[in-house]
Amino acid sequence: MRRYSSAFFKTGLFAIALFCFAQASAQTDTTEVDLLSLLGEEEPVTNYATATFKTTRVINMHSVENAAGGVLDFRISHRFGAINTGAYDLFGLDVASMRMGFEYGINDRLMVGVGRSNVNKEADAFVKYKILRQSSGKKKMPVSVSWFSSAVVRMTKWEDTSRTNYFTSRMYYCHQLLIARKFNESLSIQLAPTVVHRNLVKDSTVMNDVFASGIGARYKITRRTSFNVEYVYVLPGQIEDMYTNSLSIGFDIETGGHVFQLHFTNSKPMNEKGFITETTGSWEKGDIMFGFNVSRVFSVGKRQEPKE
């Protein structure tokens, strides 16, 4: 008897359950059920800002972008002569300054590079480290911040051979904090408080330590091209009067593994201490140069993801 009632009860419940189920399915037909919502709230993910700039330079200045881990970036920077030299030099195209660089991402945060410029026969080496990455979502960070340091050795013959010349007199250093924010898909702005140290300067009227601030911005015109502008303000009274602040405007054009940067600038040197403290061109007089940077990347090492 007991068993019978139990079975009866069970069947009854089953019928009710079936009825409920039928109701539920009937509902499915009228209102669409979002199956994925059954999994509950999605776990928030950290969304890092990528491609704040198209490449590792804004124009002359380093950007917060690095070569990714295991990627070799072969880079040729080229500046023609001043446009106001006129038709004789074909508006500067007869004259050329260049820097050739090999730059490598040790991991996604740390990159190193070496380069050689024919301007003053200078070799340079640099290290750049991503300290903070702009992000939204789970972890929030309003800006990306990178540390940049470079050393330059000038290899021209000594001007004054009558005095004792030390190798250290050939050395120059530059340290920068690169602070950038990608405001939206198009606009990114970077600030760069900078100090340049020069072991040897002309005389005591100029400083060994030069404080400056760079500002750079890019605005995307299409998905693969952008308009860039960059200015370096050197606090007054630190460098010779013949030197002026660096101002450059240009375009980035990206084609697969290449980035072409075409620009007009009043700076001939292409390393940091050079364009920050030794810019001679004047925009008012048309003493500016056409130039380009070409970057070609090669994946040579194994890709390493940075730790969260």
Partner: protein, 177 residues
């Protein structure tokens, strides 16, 4: 008794899910390999109705080459604007799949695929494999980037296929509420 009854009900209306589904695509040509994998796709399948839904974060696709990944997100998928791709559809022959009996069941799936903000109807074949209580769903299909308004510049037309192969594979677990 009541518990038994509920158990019976829940078997009838069983749902399966994963948060670690694999989605791989091959978009390259003979000129260049373009492959990427995402291992965090989410999926829910309703065994009773055959309804299924997939969702995947576009930024979760990992490439061998970092620059390719950047271009994928920045220039092609525009993943900041369209962070997710999804599929909402149905297993048309769900009645032929026995989730409680071991076996490999061929299924036909149709529904709406949304990528890059564009939605398109697709249908494809797949298999559901039941083995010792574990359920695996597999499928393979092709999409044309142009159908989803993903522009390929003329210079890259020889590198990016107009028949991108998408391979989906997921181990599904019972969804307990």
């Amino acid at each position: 008794m009541a518990i038994t009854a509920l158990a019976v009900t829940s078997t009838t209306a069983q749902k399966y899910f994963t948060k670690e589904g694999n989605i791989t695509f091959h978009a390259g040509t003979s000129v260049e390999d373009i492959d990427a994998t995402n291992t965090t796709a989410t999926c829910v399948i309703d065994a009773a109705t055959g309804d299924m839904e997939w969702s995947v974060l576009v930024k979760g696709f990992k490439f061998k080459r970092a620059l390719m990944e950047e271009h994928f997100n920045e220039n092609y998928m525009e993943s900041n604007t369209f962070p997710k791709s999804s599929f909402k559809g149905k297993i048309d022959n769900i009645s032929s799949v026995k989730f409680t009996a071991d076996g490999t069941y061929k299924v036909k799936v149709s529904g709406k695929l949304t990528m890059h903000g564009q939605t398109k109807d697709i249908s494809t074949d797949g298999t559901i494999t039941v083995k010792g209580g574990t359920i695996t769903a597999d499928s393979k299909f092709f999409v044309n980037p142009a159908d989803f308004k993903i522009e390929v510049p003329a210079t890259n037309k020889d590198k990016i296929s107009n028949k991108v192969e998408i391979v989906v594979s997921a181990n599904l677990a019972e969804l307990k509420k």
